[in-house]
């Protein structure tokens, strides 16, 4: 009885942030269900490609390009029509599915999901274009389009079951892409990838069902709507211990996907054996399903557990940054090296996220996008080298800067972008994440900053061995980058450069979602609930999570005048608080 009251009571408070229904009416007049279309277009493309005659592979290829480009066009539409300052979800759509247990296909995006969707829609056409010379293009196109559909589904789903279905569906096309078009030990890698992530997902599934059951137990209704369950779970309706357990269930599944140390060993194998497009997509968007899961589900649903688990998550993330970099240094295979660099980069994302500050999360989200761009270029060029030399071993290469100057120049640009050179997007993301971490968790940030040195070591050492020196044998007669290949990498690098100097368009769009999430965490770590032993507000006070805020000195932009006394007092007051 009490519990039911609490639900209604809390629901009223949190609607502004996480409810699906609030904003759906605002777009009620909009006729075109763009998110559904973004799922259906790749699916339709896949089905159409499937029935094309095998003798005319170019048909399937054209269908692939058209479907992927159409999806990308819709992503641009989202980007243009996204309302920057609006809270909650936009482009919201509701489709019933299994009404009996409250499962539905509800789609909607906020500032966090928006860029994941756009990145996905950007990387798939590039992946298809980069794979123009693969054998059996029909099947390849089918799997790629199915993969695109699933990945977009993960990012737009507003229902936990739908989320889980897409989350798992991703594995199937990826499995076949690695097994069918991979190199070397691909069967082993594909199976390992599949089982590893499946094992993680088992925890996720149990957690989801338990959450649904708890909701039913309290309210008598069935729902798997993310918004409702977030309000329910965060709103003090679950015993703290259960909350922590469920958080751990979510966290394990997402940690495998990210991957977080020490659950990362599937990644180098999968990356190395996957075809180029597979690696681009895997690193570019699939890893982000893990970090997205933290931001979308694990943290908002269990804010108290997130605060509780933050030191552990931060530690694992920082270990990933340092450890990933050191292990990358010793990799003999260029692609494996880049795979380990992903472990380090995603470490920055998780670190920023669990710093539980606006800067940290913004930096994390930015790094997710940036890593998709720069690592994409690195994988694409390694793929080009493999196409020509049939090797990725650093020891077999050398002197490529002389024989293929344009390709090497682009690789170097991507290398520096990946190292985190200011002017490229990588720096913006990492720096913001580090700033956000430093203000709450100083020593973790210090250790992670050391990773910045290591990134230069492993990437530039690899570049030196593979690209400098005098080319010999096959390395001397390599063909430089073709126009088609140029088209795959230049947009990504250009975007990275643009965002490096002008990150505002991205930060602005994700800001509202991140700030709402921060407010949500601050609110729900502070609310008293029926599980409090002594049930008084003071008891909870000590557990309240509060993001530290600094008071900047008074702004005086025009030159000349020296700062007024006001700025002194503000600075002093601020310093007193922290010192």
């Amino acid at each position: 009885m009490i519990a039911t009251e609490t639900v209604t009571h809390t629901a009223g408070k949190a609607t502004t942030m996480f409810s699906e229904t609030v904003f759906s009416t605002e777009h009620g007049t909009r006729s075109f269900p763009v998110l559904t279309a973004m799922i259906l277009v790749p699916l339709a493309g896949a089905l159409l490609a499937m029935v094309m005659p095998k003798r005319r592979p170019e048909y399937a290829r054209v269908i692939g390009y058209v479907a992927a480009m159409a999806t990308f066009g819709m992503a641009v539409f989202l980007l243009l029509n996204f309302k920057t300052s609006q809270h909650g979800y936009q482009f919201f759509e509701e489709h019933g599915w299994i009404d009996a247990v409250g499962v539905s296909f509800n789609f909607g995006i906020d500032g966090i999901a928006l860029f994941m969707v756009v990145l996905t829609a950007l990387l798939f056409p590039i992946g298809l274009l980069a794979s123009a010379k693969l054998e059996n293009p029909r099947a390849f196109t089918v799997w790629m389009l199915l993969l695109e559909m699933s990945v977009i589904g993960v990012f737009v789903a507003r229902d936990l079951i739908a989320f889980f279905v897409f989350f798992e569906l991703v594995l199937v096309p990826m499995y076949f892409l690695i097994a069918g078009w991979g190199h070397g030990n691909n069967a082993y890698a594909a199976t390992k990838f599949f089982l590893y992530t499946m094992a993680g997902s088992a925890f996720l599934f149990v957690a989801i069902l338990t959450l649904g059951a708890l909701y039913h137990q309290e309210t008598g209704d069935w729902t798997f709507a993310i918004g409702k369950l977030t309000e329910f779970a965060a709103g003090g309706n679950i015993a703290p211990v259960t909350g922590k357990l469920l958080f751990v269930g979510f966290a394990i599944a997402f940690a495998v996907k990210v991957p977080l140390f020490p659950l990362h060993t599937w990644l180098p194998d999968a990356h190395t054996e996957a075809p180029t497009a597979g690696s681009v997509v895997l690193a570019g968007v699939m890893l982000k399903m893990g970090t997205y899961g933290f931001l979308r589900l694990a943290i908002p649903m269990f804010p108290r557990a997130a605060v509780w688990a933050a030191p552990v998550m931060l530690t694992l993330a920082v270990i990933g940054i340092i450890y990933g970099a050191i292990v990358a240094t010793m990799q003999p295979d260029l692609k494996r090296l880049i795979a380990y660099s992903s472990v380090a980069h995603l470490g920055f994302v998780v670190m920023g996220t669990f710093a539980l500050t606006t800067q940290g999360m913004q930096g994390g989200i930015f790094t997710m996008v940036s890593h998709g761009l720069t690592t994409g270029v690195l994988f694409l060029i390694v793929g080009m080298i493999y196409d020509r030399r049939h090797t990725r071993l650093i020891a077999d290469l050398g002197g490529l800067w002389k024989s293929v100057p344009i390709m090497s120049g682009l690789f170097l640009a991507a290398t520096f972008a990946s190292i985190g050179l200011p002017g490229f997007s990588g720096f913006v993301g990492e720096f913001t994440a580090l700033v956000g971490t430093f203000v709450t968790r100083r020593w973790w940030a210090v250790a992670a900053t050391a990773g910045v040195i290591l990134a230069a070591v492993y990437l530039l050492w690899a570049y030196q061995r593979a690209f400098t020196g005098e080319p010999e044998g096959d390395n001397a007669t390599m063909q430089d980058i073709s126009f088609r290949e140029l088209v795959t990498v230049v947009p990504l690098l250009a975007l990275s450069l643009f965002l490096g100097f002008y990150p505002k368009p991205l930060f602005d769009r994700s800001e509202v979602a991140v700030k709402d999430l921060m407010t949500h965490i601050e609110t729900w770590t502070c609310e008293p609930d029926q599980f409090d032993e002594n049930n008084d507000a003071d008891g909870r006070e000590s557990e309240c999570y509060k993001e530290p805020v600094r008071v900047p000195p008074k702004d005086h932009e025009s030159g000349g005048e020296s700062p007024g006394e006001d700025s002194h007092t503000e600075t002093d007051a601020e310093d007193g608080e922290h010192g």
Partner: protein, 662 residues
């Protein structure tokens, strides 16, 4: 005039545009047009800098501080907000003038020096990109803008040092420079984090004076100052982060002049001056003072590098160690709080060291890529202008009045002496010893290269592995006009550069010091007790310089003996090898990297990652498979059955929860 100050972005934008054009179309533009375009863009910057200078000068002293923000760089990230903006004040204008001025001369010089190089236009693209980055560094209106330029020059330094990347040593040197600088950047970044977390901003405008910092604890402010100094140590090659600079001589000589003598290495001096408020405040407190650390690191570098320089045989390596040593002087000055003295020496050093490097480049060019001084001698006859201008550089660095180096070095030593306490006197003594060595090794260089016996006709020994076998069929020759002209201009500056700031207050001739005052507000004033004591110190410094010159001349008057053995080898005994190898720091580091460090990384990659972590995963997989083998009658062993099992398990759990709920 405000309008001109708002347009300061033209200064970095001009070479940046040049770099973009040359990177994209350089091949089509070709030689020598690419060189002229690059020189043109940087010359425009110089002209615009001069206009900016006059625009700023027309403002009254206290208003010489103008911020112009182009756009919000970091925004939407909570209270962390940074503008993409520029700050025009006396300090940035001073930096801007000498970066563009000397930069333009070096661009011009490179047209001749890089003649015939297959990557001619690429070289100029990099030079332009470097100039743009350096200008962003000095013009930035906040720490992060400076960091943008800071890393930009780091990138260009990498690209230019490993410009001839076919040579393995060049590629390695480029990487070493970047990585070593990253160690410094680690400090710089942490400093920024700490500043932001304490003050909520990174804008320089809030950090003009020590009194603006509010009541911040001594520990914090010292930490910020020292972390900034770690960044400065990387860029300005202070011990122990100096190791990259001597190797950086692998790059084309104009690069050594532009980056590793005149401009980039002064970035650290600039950073410390720009954030002097933190150092000043730290120096006021009890306990560890940041200034003391800075001064002593500078002093150690000044002396240590000077000792190494006396035993180098490569014409450029002598100058490289000399640069380290001179940078040490600058930090010595900054450490005792004599910022304007440090900046003064930075400017005069830029004149004479650029001259010496370009002169050595002219020698290398005329000697057909020979860099070993043991195979030179008597070159003045063949390259009169190079020889003549080089001598001005030598007199300037040796501290002979009235050449530029005398005035600035003298000011540093005097300020150190009167900065107080035993520490000040000790710093002065170390500086004097380094001055003696400086005069000596530069004299040695001049005599080995331009006077004495002509040794270049002897066939090369090839024992120290210089890449190209010199073609001694050709006589040495003077360099083309584009190369010689900058030498003449720079030698002129090396003669009169000292007049920028003369140590006379009646009438006030300390032009530079006076000009910089608004940027260095709140810096401690160091009073030289009396004119006569200051004069005595100057005389002492001159005498020390002359002693160094006399010894050097006596030893190398006739060049080298016929067996080619340096007379110093026998005099220094075992210590000779220590100096020749720069105290074995490089060899030690290389041993550490290829030894324990590699072992540790291999252990992580193989032992931990592959065998332990992945081994455990595969072990679980294997035992599952074995268990499955046992249960084969029930299981088909297909992947989808695992999924089925998971779903089934979950459903059962759900059922359990449900029943419990009811």
């Amino acid at each position: 005039m405000q309008r001109f100050l708002d347009l300061v972005w033209v200064v970095p934008a001009s070479p940046a545009l040049g770099a973009v054009v040359l990177l994209l179309f350089g091949k089509r533009i070709g030689e020598p047009k690419a060189g002229w375009i690059a020189t043109g863009t940087i010359s425009l910057s110089f002209v615009w800098s001069v206009i900016t200078f006059f625009a700023l000068q027309s403002q009254p002293g206290e208003e010489r501080h103008h911020v112009y923000n182009l756009w919000k760089w970091f925004a939407g990230t909570g209270d962390f907000s940074v503008s993409f903006g520029f700050l025009v004040d006396p300090l940035s204008v001073t930096m801007m003038l000498f970066v563009t001025g000397i930069g333009a001369l070096i661009h011009l010089y490179s047209i001749g020096y890089m003649h015939g190089d297959p990557r001619f236009s690429r070289f100029f693209a990099y030079l332009n990109l470097f100039a743009a980055s350096m200008l962003i560094l000095v013009l930035g209106s906040n720490f992060l803008m400076t960091f943008l330029g800071w890393e930009g020059v780091g990138l260009c330094s990498y690209l230019l040092i490993s410009f001839w990347f076919e040579k393995n040593s060049a590629a390695v040197a480029g990487k070493k420079a970047f990585v070593t600088n990253r160690v410094g950047d680690f400090g710089f970044m942490l400093a920024m984090f700490l500043i932001f977390s304490k003050f909520g901003t990174l804008d320089y405008v809030h950090f003009g004076r020590a009194s603006e910092l509010g009541d911040i604890s001594h520990g914090t402010v010292t930490a910020i100052a020292l972390l900034l100094f770690v960044g400065a140590m990387g860029k300005s090659a202070q011990v122990p982060l100096h190791i990259w600079l001597p190797d950086a001589m692998e790059g084309p000589t104009p690069v050594s002049a532009l980056i590793h003598a005149a401009t980039m290495v002064t970035a650290g001096v600039f950073l410390v001056s720009r954030s002097h408020a933190f150092f000043d405040l730290s120096n006021l407190g009890e306990g560890l003072q940041a200034g003391t650390v800075v001064a002593w690191v500078g002093a150690i570098t000044a002396l240590g590098a000077a000792t190494v320089a006396i035993r180098q045989n490569d014409i450029k390596r002598v100058l490289a160690y000399s640069t380290l040593s001179q940078l040490g002087y600058m930090f010595l000055a900054l450490g005792v709080g004599a910022y304007s003295a440090g900046l003064f020496h930075m400017v005069t050093h830029a004149f004479f060291k650029a001259l010496l490097f370009l002169g050595s480049g002219s020698v290398i060019h005329g000697m057909h890529h020979e860099q070993d001084m043991r195979r030179m001698g008597g070159l003045k006859k063949f390259m009169p202008i190079t020889g003549f201008t080089f001598i001005f550089g030598w007199l300037a660095i040796a501290g002979v009045p009235p050449f530029a180096g005398f005035w600035s070095k003298d000011e540093i030593l005097a300020k150190a002496f009167f900065s107080g306490g035993v520490s000040g006197k000790a710093l002065w003594a170390v500086g004097m010893l380094a001055a003696l060595l400086t005069a000596f090794y530069m004299t040695r260089q001049v005599w080995l290269v331009f006077y004495g016996n002509e040794r270049f006709r002897v066939p090369a020994h090839g024992e120290d592995g210089h890449a190209t076998e010199p073609d001694h069929a050709h006589e040495p020759h003077e360099s083309p006009t584009t190369m010689v002209l900058p030498l003449v201009v720079l030698s002129g500056l090396s003669i009169v550069g000292g007049f920028l700031s003369l140590p006379f207050t009646q009438p006030n001739l300390e032009f530079l010091t006076h000009w910089l005052e608004p940027s260095l507000e709140g810096a401690p004033e160091i009073h030289i007790d009396s004119f006569s004591s200051g004069f005595m110190l100057s005389v002492g410094a001159v005498v020390v310089g002359i002693i160094g010159i006399v010894i050097g001349r006596a030893m190398y008057q006739r060049g080298l003996p016929d067996d080619g053995v340096d007379p110093m080898e026998s005099r220094l005994g075992a210590f000779s090898r220590v100096l020749e190898n720069a105290y074995f720091l490089d060899i030690g580091l290389a041993k550490f990297v290829s030894g324990p460090a590699t072992k540790f990384a291999t252990f992580l990659a193989e032992g931990v990652d592959r065998k332990t972590i992945d081994g455990a995963v595969n072990g679980i997989g294997r035992s599952v498979k074995e268990a499955g083998d046992g249960l084969r009658r029930m299981q088909t062993g297909l992947v989808r059955n695992y999924a089925l099992a998971i779903v089934a398990g979950a459903v059962m759990l759900l059922a359990y929860m449900w029943t419990r709920a009811i």
